[in-house]
Point group: D2
Chain length 167, copies 4
DNA sequence: TTTT
DNA sequence: TTTT
């Protein structure tokens, strides 16, 4: 099917420190429980009410997962852009179960930290936090690649693209 | 919590005719099974591969649900903008189960039909299909309403809002 | 034309305090200069580079404009969701000029403050800052209205819509 | 600045065939004039009204520009996701002028064709149109790269990622 | 200048 | 003109 779009944009707060899992082959995957909320004034009572929604955000990207592990903590406010994915699994009774997650993977995925940097430290590394798009990771790949492709194909668009890559 | 955003944007095709349910108090609710897909060329085999993702879209709006019932059919390509919502329920064995849905409700919800109109007919009604955002309808409703609500001492926000309605 | 979407989503910092103008008929309009930026590491020099983009955000909504005036200050980080609009005007030499702005107006517009509330004060009012979507406010207005408009036989879309308002 | 987002999402119709320009160094750039529109029923007259907005979409990507040149024609309905960019230039009288464009470049850019494929032909090539994300271009780079990274790191996640890359 |  |  063509002409398809699957995009989720969330701004919320982390309910806990991210969990970092590792695949058999050693790749890091970060899981974040993210809370978004809406508030409104109740029509009848006039009271302010709030509804909180919890989302499971899964980051399939080792480099990004590590950054998340390092900088994203419980309570942090973040922006994530990914896609909806529903995973099928079996519970202990053998029933089919489904879990829907917001997956950041590959392109068109993005994560931004929205809290003011306080304190110090992590700026030191030079790379610094901030624009933690998956971009960055792709960038890594893309640039190591580009040194080839550029010379090879001379496509200087890919050159510019690489220049544009965050980092 | 403030500063929260919960937004889903999908473009996909309906897997079946929408289902219209009705709440106890008679409101119509439309359910759409929407498929999005990604395709890519497998690097090793060179074959084209495709991954389809199915989404449950729930439309809590009688008028919109009726429009959906009337014009959205199996196979139709639509744009939906709503929010992620996870609903808890009990299965027959009494286990907690969760279903995540894309909910179109209230503001910041939108539905657009992306297929070319073929044939005729439904334009006749005057209202016509096309921009089936909640927008348009709210606008209509909001304005007829505002003359009342404003006088009624309704929040003067609604007054401003009406002014804000696209022209 | 049907099947149309025009959406802009920005997260950035205000370059100055918002400007509040007023239309002839007394409605407030807020203007914000918003900076977004991208940064990346230059491939050849290894230096970190940054490109800043400035946006003009125009808020056509008296209540929201006032909230903006009150709480959004120079340096504030905000989320805005609106639409692209290009305005034609004449310069002093009589040449046609065009300005493109991000317009928040009517539905499908949203503004969220992303800075942590520090200090005190503005929570007191009860309404509180935070979710300054047009949402909330429309909801208020819309709901007080709905009890009327429904009876009044207002478009039954508005009826549904009101029902749809978050709770 | 960190924590920044600059995103534009449009669904509209092409007002003319795309223009393909070429930079001095031979890279293709596509320009599309895209119309979005809103329609609503006038509150007082009850008439249906429509407001059309024109956008300039600029695609800085040789491969994508060529696909656009080949498949996107006047009247086509497309989805584009890019970012806002304002370009400064001098008019013939030496005045500063600014043009704001929706730029598709690098990551987080996407273009989808939303018209039903009619007729035949272009499906034949095997690659087919459909998901014309910039992804595709990155994919090209990324995959040539991945053949390295995979062997090197064996991370089959990167393998999956690459596999996921459109085209 | 598109589209409905 | 913001922010990091």
């Amino acid at each position: 099917m063509s002409g398809s779009v699957n995009k989720v944009i969330l701004i919320g707060n982390c309910g806990a420190d991210p969990e970092i899992r590792r695949t058999q082959d050693g790749r890091a995957i970060a899981n974040i429980r993210l809370a978004t909320s809406e508030s409104w004034r109740d029509r009848t009572s006039g009271e302010r009410r709030e509804k909180v929604e919890w989302h499971t955000v899964v980051i399939f990207n080792e480099a990004l997962a590590k950054i998340v592990e390092q900088y994203v903590k419980k309570g942090a406010k973040i922006y994530v852009e990914g896609q909806l994915q529903t995973r099928k699994w079996q519970d202990t009774q053998g029933n089919d179960r489904y879990s829907t997650e917001v997956v950041l993977q590959g392109f068109n995925a993005k994560l931004e930290m929205l809290d003011k940097r306080q304190g110090s430290g992590y700026q030191a590394g030079g790379s610094g936090p901030g624009d933690y798009g998956l971009d960055e990771d792709r960038a890594t790949g893309a640039s190591s690649q580009s040194s080839n492709s550029q010379t090879a194909g001379g496509g200087n668009f890919s050159r510019d693209l690489d220049d544009d890559i965050p980092f």
